[in-house]
């Protein structure tokens, strides 16, 4: 069975950000430890590659939490 969108996104967030095991990814945002400008760039690149779409600069800027990124991915699928 293929991975759900949310599970795929969670895997990417855990790979790119320093999300500790047991920590709730859904609560992660730019305010969180480890989500700096470089991590943001890496998240965008990894999400775009995985879900095969390109964000506009405004979309990339607005995708500042796990929930916002999930909404964006769902809107593009």
């Amino acid at each position: 069975m293929s991975e759900s969108t949310e599970a795929t996104l969670e895997r990417i967030f855990r790979s790119v950000l320093k999300v500790r095991p047991g920590e709730d990814v859904a609560s992660v945002s730019v305010e969180s430890h480890g989500w700096d400008s470089v991590a943001h760039l890496n998240l965008i690149l990894a999400v775009e590659q995985e879900f095969r779409f390109m964000m506009t600069p405004d979309e990339a800027s607005a995708a500042s939490s796990f929930r916002a990124m999930l909404d964006l991915v769902n809107s593009r699928r």
Partner: protein
């Protein structure tokens, strides 16, 4: 350094497996997320992990390289290198070249210098002034020169990458004063200026970007908004190219490429299809195999040994190779072969013995998944590169094959290859000559012993990196280390000729001359190609003679035991050194100068001394 306790050893083993799994996952499913996973695993791992060579890599840049790091890391991890990156501040490359220590600690073993052509040239590239090429070249050379002068690291510098969307297009194609032509000229002059520098490697962005496609390699959105020029899909390509260059610079080089015959050296099965039925020649599919043979011939010109390992009838294969006019390679191009119906892993082990090289010096190429897996499992030291079943994939395969990257091929490399070939002829003579003394005398051995030969630093470093058996202390010195040791002490090289071949440099002695009336032999090694002739004694004598001339009273030495250097355990006591006990019960050796044996080694016809040949 703190010693490792049992718990840490166990943990280290776990990390080794974890990093291997991360590298394998990235290789089978390349993605930015998986590269991050490998990178994070590596960041959490201890500094030293069994099975991975540690590398500290400094990066000087004028663009955002942070998204590259996981990809560079992953590519290096797949080659058995565990990297720690020290990334310089954005666009602060020239100050770091003047003060590399400002980058942080530890001092890098390797630098990557990436200078984006558009950023470096700025607006002036739209109307380049006459001196712009020289100015750009001067800046890059000054940065690289600063790192070379102030560190002992290897430096990988990219040349100026092609632009993603050249605005000059048709006009630029014709204009010899325009930016496109100027960029290519700077790149050509950069290669000419740096290609002789042993610690510098140029990463050709024209090749790397061109292979991928310039329009796909860039992400203009990221380039313009985040100064991050490359598309995420291109980053693995960049990582592989960087890793290949770094591996060639820092890992011991492989020496011998062993190839299968059927469906590898030619298409089809000789024993079944017959000489007329196999594919080799200028027409497809034979052209793919011919291309592979041309590739192998190129490796031989760069100092690699070639060998055959094939399940076939030997007579059939050798006759076909000699008689088929379409074959690029004949039997004479191969230093050794095993063409039989035996286990290929066992054949490889025998070939290594024949050629007197380690299994870790071999690359094995075969189209059969079974044979590849068999060799991987039986001989993990051998680099196995499975040849593609589809001949159309051969060109891409040849551009990606690992283990055959080698920087700067010197005359020593070529002489070494030729000497191993000559060894087969020499072995025949040995069998025909009644005793060892007569045999050695018949060789007419001539030795040249040089001190502080700066033209040989790359070769000296190579010997330090890959000599295992006759190596008294097994210290793995880099080119930069050797240069420093020449400044601080005495570095001896010994080269050898006999009537069959010129071996090039086969022996090295590194001596700490710093304490006035006492010298210490820091390193002493002999290439396996020179074993069994007793020539190492002449190198030791040269050191002792110089010590006497310098008024030194005694010379100390050590033997640091490894799994491979047992043959040298008694080298110093056998040649007049007294055994003493050093700190912590360490075995040390000492010789009072004047006690040296002045006899010439049997069979050595001539020993020539050269002081500072440069």
């Amino acid at each position: 350094m703190a010693s490792l306790g049992p718990a840490q050893v166990v943990q280290d083993g776990d990390w080794s497996e974890r990093l291997r799994r991360a590298a394998a996952k990235l290789a089978s499913a390349p993605s930015h997320a998986n590269a991050h996973e490998a990178y994070r695993a590596g960041m959490e791992a201890p500094a030293t992990v069994e099975g991975f060579a540690p590398l500290n890599c400094g990066i000087l840049r004028n663009v955002t390289v942070e998204p590259w790091l996981p990809e560079l890391y992953g590519a290096l991890l797949q080659r058995g290198i565990k990297t720690t990156f020290l990334v310089g501040d954005y666009a602060v490359y020239e100050p770091y070249a003047s003060a590399p220590a400002d980058l942080g600690t530890p001092m890098p073993d390797c630098f990557l210098v990436y200078l984006d052509a558009g950023v470096l040239a700025g607006d002036a590239r739209h109307d380049p002034p006459a001196d712009m090429g020289g100015a750009l070249l001067g800046r890059i050379r000054a940065i690289v020169g600063g790192l070379i002068e102030r560190t002992s690291a290897n430096v990988v510098v990219t040349n100026l990458a092609p632009e993603p969307h050249p605005v000059h297009s048709v006009h630029g194609d014709q204009d010899r004063k325009g930016w496109p032509h100027l960029r290519r000229t700077v790149n050509a002059e950069l290669t000419a200026a740096l290609s002789e520098e042993p610690r510098v490697s140029i990463l050709d962005m024209d090749r790397i970007v061109g292979e991928f496609g310039a329009s796909r390699a860039y992400d203009m959105r990221m380039y313009m908004t985040a100064a991050s020029p490359f598309a995420v899909e291109f980053l693995p390509q960049l990582g592989r190219a960087f890793a290949a260059t770094v591996a060639a610079a820092v890992l011991p080089p492989r020496k011998c490429v062993v190839v299968d015959c059927d469906n590898t050296l030619w298409g089809g099965i000789l024993g079944e299809d017959g000489p007329e039925g196999v594919a080799i020649g200028t027409n497809y599919p034979g052209s793919a195999y011919r291309e592979f043979q041309l590739f192998l011939a190129g490796l031989a010109r760069r100092g690699f040994l070639l060998a055959l390992n094939s399940k076939n009838n030997e007579g059939d294969v050798l006759s076909f190779m000699e008689e088929c006019p379409e074959m690029v390679l004949g039997p004479a191009d191969f230093a050794a072969w095993r063409i039989n119906w035996e286990d290929k892993a066992a054949n490889l082990a025998e070939l290594a013995q024949d050629l007197n090289i380690g299994l870790d010096s071999m690359v094995f190429i075969d189209d059969s998944p079974f044979e590849c897996e068999r060799v991987k499992s039986a001989l993990p030291e051998v680099q196995v590169e499975r040849f593609p079943a589809n001949p159309l994939e051969v060109p891409r395969y040849l551009s990606a094959i690992q283990g055959v990257e080698r920087l700067g091929v010197g005359s020593d490399d070529l002489a070494r290859t030729e000497s191993i070939r000559a060894n087969a002829r020499r072995e025949r003579l040995r069998r025909e000559t009644p005793d060892l003394g007569s045999f050695l005398r018949s060789l007419s051995i001539k030795l040249t012993i040089a001190r502080q030969d700066r033209t040989a630093v790359r070769r000296i470093s190579e010997l330090c990196q890959r000599t295992n058996q006759f190596n008294l202390t097994t210290k793995r010195y880099s080119v930069g280390d050797i240069e420093r040791l020449m400044d601080e002490g005495a570095v001896y090289t010994m080269s050898m000729k006999d009537r069959f071949s010129d071996y090039g440099t086969i022996g090295v002695a590194i001596v700490d001359t710093g304490s006035g009336d006492r010298w210490e032999i820091d390193s002493f090694m002999l290439s396996c190609r020179a074993f069994g002739r007793g020539v190492e004694v002449e190198l030791l004598k040269a050191v002792l003679e110089d010590a006497g001339t310098a008024g030194v009273r005694s010379v100390g030495a050590r033997h640091v035991a490894t799994a491979k250097n047992g043959m040298t355990r008694n080298f110093f006591p056998d040649h007049g050194f007294a055994e003493t006990e050093g700190p912590n019960g360490e075995v040390r050796f000492e010789m009072r100068i004047g006690a040296a044996d002045g006899r010439r080694t049997a069979g050595v016809g001539e020993v020539r001394r050269v002081e500072s040949p440069t």
